[in-house]
């Protein structure tokens, strides 16, 4: 037993002597006779964890948990504890590619005003941890301590990371950000593909990407700005909730600006809660609305305004005024609801087919389409 134990020690690198003896004797385990020759049954500790710890003295690593670390060699790294800096970056990566497992630990900065990067790198994959600073974002700025940037990469991915308290961009530059969140930031997440993420309490934009699927975003500015949006909920108070090219299966709620603004919108709801005047308060602004609902609270805006086609959609204006506008094409199988109406236009389209209106005074058609371009029961 003693011989076996001492062999363990000789091959171990960092553990204190006492700690090694403790478990072996405390639990009184195992047969006293070695199963085989010691060499064949042993592993060095770096064979158990071949990745490199982010600690001073580890290859490729300099710095400390209070001044931040620099990783200057490509490789695979993991954190061994929290990092809290008073200024500058928590982790600076100067080599590519690097894989960094935050190992569930937290990076934070007490710099006030916020400066530096939590993680700055090139091509890297970052996962599994938290960036947590105390600063908060508002519609007008950022106050309190934090980083100026959360994770900033040139390419690569970020997964399972939670970010809060960043005056600039929470997570930026990655090809893919998934299963992550940002809260209290300038821009929440800016990446190629953003999936299964949340961005909340962001000053300017919640999520900016090429593809955004299965996310939620709320922002003092814009909610989500992406070419492709699907399965997403977004709210905004200083711009459009969802801006995109194609949008499907989503909801955008805006206190200022469009609920949804895109070329093609399917099976989605755009809602603008602005009560003041202005065309920016249209619920759903699009080229094609298909299976959609749009609603506005502005007398000078529309529930839905489509350039070309509104199909199987409903539009509501809770402030009276204007319901559904199709600028250049048909309104088909649509319903428009307006309230407080005194001769306002529920549906305006050059061609209206199978449409209905509600909320109008008796005897008013509410559809400004020429009589010979109304079909299938359109009033």
């Amino acid at each position: 037993m003693r011989r076996s134990t001492s062999f363990y020690i000789s091959s171990m690198k960092h553990l204190p002597l006492l700690a090694l003896f403790l478990p072996a004797l405390a639990f009184a385990q195992g047969a006293l006779t070695p199963a085989a020759a010691p060499a064949a049954s042993m592993k060095r500790l770096d064979q158990i964890e071949a990745r490199c710890p982010v600690q001073a003295g580890a290859p490729g690593v300099t710095g400390s948990p209070t001044t931040g670390f620099t990783i200057s060699a490509a490789g695979s790294y993991y954190l061994t504890g929290d990092i809290t800096v008073a200024s500058g970056n928590a982790i600076t990566i100067t080599a590519s590619p690097v894989t960094l497992d935050l190992n569930g630990f937290t990076l934070s900065s007490t710099a006030n005003p916020a400066t530096g990067y939590a993680i700055k790198g090139g091509l890297a994959r970052i996962a599994n941890g938290r960036i947590q600073c105390a600063g908060t974002a508002s519609a007008t700025g950022f106050s309190g301590p934090g980083f100026a940037f959360g994770i900033s990469l040139s390419s690569g991915s970020v997964t399972r990371v939670s970010v809060a308290g960043i005056s600039g961009t929470g997570i930026g530059g990655a090809d893919l950000v998934a299963h992550s969140s940002t809260r209290e930031a300038g821009t929440g997440i800016s990446a190629g593909i953003v999936a299964a993420c949340t961005a909340s309490a962001c000053r300017s934009t919640g999520i900016a990407s090429t593809i955004a699927v299965s996310n939620t975003a709320d922002s003092f500015g814009q909610g989500i700005n992406a070419s492709i949006v699907a399965d997403t909920t977004a709210t905004s108070s200083g711009g459009a909730a969802i801006t995109g090219t194609v949008v499907r299966s989503s909801i955008g709620l805006a206190d200022s600006g469009y609920g949804i603004d895109a070329k093609v919108v399917h099976t989605s709801t755009g809602r603008s809660r602005v009560s003041s005047a202005g065309t920016g308060a249209t619920g759903l602004r699009t080229d094609i609305a298909y299976n959609c609902h749009g609603t506005t609270a502005s007398p000078n805006a529309y529930g839905i305004r489509a350039n070309y086609v509104a199909f199987n959609s409903t539009s509501a204006n809770t402030a009276g005024g204007l319901g559904l506008l199709v600028d250049n094409g048909p309104a088909v199988f649509c319903r428009a609801t307006i309230s407080n109406a005194s001769g306002d236009t529920a549906i305006s389209a050059p061609l209206a087919i199978g449409c209905t209106v509600s909320g109008l005074p008796a005897g008013m058609s509410g559809v400004d389409t020429p009589a010979d371009m109304k079909f299938l029961g359109t009033p």
Binding site: L18, L22, P23, A24, L25, A26, F27, A28, Q29, G30, K43, L45, D46, Q47, I48, E49, A50, R51, C52, P59, G75, P97, T99, L123, R125, G156, S157, T159, D175, L176, A178, G192, I193, A195, T210, I211, V213, S227, I228, A230, V246, V247, R248, K263, V264, V265, H266, D287, I288, Y290, N291, N307, Y308, V309, F311, N328, G329, P330, L351, F375
Partner: protein, 378 residues
């Protein structure tokens, strides 16, 4: 030494954490003999280690036995493959490390899966500067799953786990690629039965080739940026190739497809897509298009489809033969536009066998048989 230690060990846990009984737990003994209650290092990391911790290996490895393997460090080879898998039922965790090659011209495959080897999972690492990243034979090896791999500067192929047959079908191999990225030269970026949340760029025939591709991005390629039976919420752009399509049928939903010199979208069915082109068709949809927007600057047709519902077609060219929405079946509830006065070329804004509830704009010439126009179609 021994009595001291014994004392320490017994006393420490009780005092430090004020916990537990002094007598050993019941399961510490079996028939009066101590039973193993601790873990060996092998129990902590039971997987097979490849390479040497803290060292960049230049060795070329072959995995010839089923099992679970983990990389201990980067592998940088001067020629050939870095890892060859010649067994089935293998899990390989690159552990965040990189496989690289210094061969010039680029040669070898970072991880080559021998023909017939199946049920293989590869995750978590980087690959650079090989001819190919991860490649199986693509016709017999099934159940190969690759996730969280970034391939950069591949000479030919990125990650190819399925290859089309002569009839352009992908064999049913149950292969998948998740959260991967590939930048490749003359070959295919990513190819598998299912691809999700991935990105590829290629100068070769395909950037992404798949049965189903979801929420992924593709750029480049001379044939198709995305060549898939189903493309959902994908973004594809190409210079000379078709952005999204498939030689034997593609269903595209909620996609963005743009090609400068070829078709934006070439699908059997399309719903909720944007498709555009500079000089080609915006979209050619062989069968049904619903709720799509298609545009072209100077291609022949903005949107061609057998059946079209609630679509918009916008041809922005002002000269030459040009078509807005061209359907040989029924076009309903659509908007079609062709720019220009109509004096130049032979523009036709709407062509259909039956047209119902359509609006035309710009050039007002249509080609719909008399008596087959309904619901306000001019």
């Amino acid at each position: 030494m021994r009595p001291f230690l014994l004392l320490t060990t017994l006393a420490l846990p009780a005092l430090a954490f004020a916990q537990g009984a002094l007598s050993p737990p019941a399961d510490a003994f079996s028939n009066g003999a101590p039973t193993p209650t601790m873990k060996t290092l092998d129990q902590i990391e039971p997987r097979h280690l490849i390479g040497t911790p803290g060292t960049t290996r230049t060795t070329r490895y072959t995995i010839s036995t089923s099992g679970s393997y983990v990389l201990a460090g980067p592998i940088a080879v001067a020629a050939g493959n870095a890892i060859t898998i010649s067994a089935s039922n293998v899990t390989l965790d690159l552990n965040g490390f990189e496989l690289s090659s210094s061969a010039s011209p680029k040669a070898g495959t970072a991880i080559a899966i021998a023909a017939g080897c199946s049920s293989i999972a590869i995750t978590n690492g980087f690959i650079t500067n090989f001819a190919d990243g991860i490649v199986s034979d693509g016709t017999t090896s099934h159940s190969i799953h690759v996730a969280d791999i970034t391939v950069t500067s591949a000479g030919v192929d990125g990650i190819v786990l399925a290859r089309r047959d002569a009839a352009y079908n992908l064999p049913a191999l149950g292969t998948s690629i998740d959260r991967c990225s590939a930048g490749v030269g003359t070959g295919i970026g990513l190819s598998a039965n299912r691809v999700t949340l991935s990105r590829a760029s290629s100068d070769g025939p395909r950037a992404i080739q798949a049965g189903t591709v979801t929420a992924s991005r593709a750029t480049g390629a001379t044939g198709y940026a995305i060549d898939a039976h189903v493309a959902d919420s994908c973004h594809a752009t190409s210079n000379s190739g078709i952005a999204i399509g498939a030689a034997n049928g593609c269903t595209a939903n909620n996609c963005y497809a743009f090609s400068y010199f070829n078709w934006g979208l070439d699908a059997f069915n399309a719903t909720g897509c944007y498709a555009g082109s500079q000089t080609g068709y915006g979209a050619r949809v062989l069968f049904t298009a619903s709720g799509c927007y298609a545009e072209t600057q100077s291609g022949l047709v903005a949107l061609a489809s057998t059946e079209a519902v609630a679509c918009a077609a916008d041809h922005q060219g002002t000269y030459g033969e040009r078509r807005g929405l061209h359907s040989n079946g029924t076009t309903s509830f659509c908007y079609a536009h062709v720019a220009g006065s109509g004096a130049s070329g032979t523009p036709v804004t709407l062509t259909a066998a039956i047209a119902a509830g359509c609006v035309v704009d710009g050039v007002l010439t249509t080609s719909v048989p008399a008596g087959k126009k309904f619901l306000g179609t001019p």
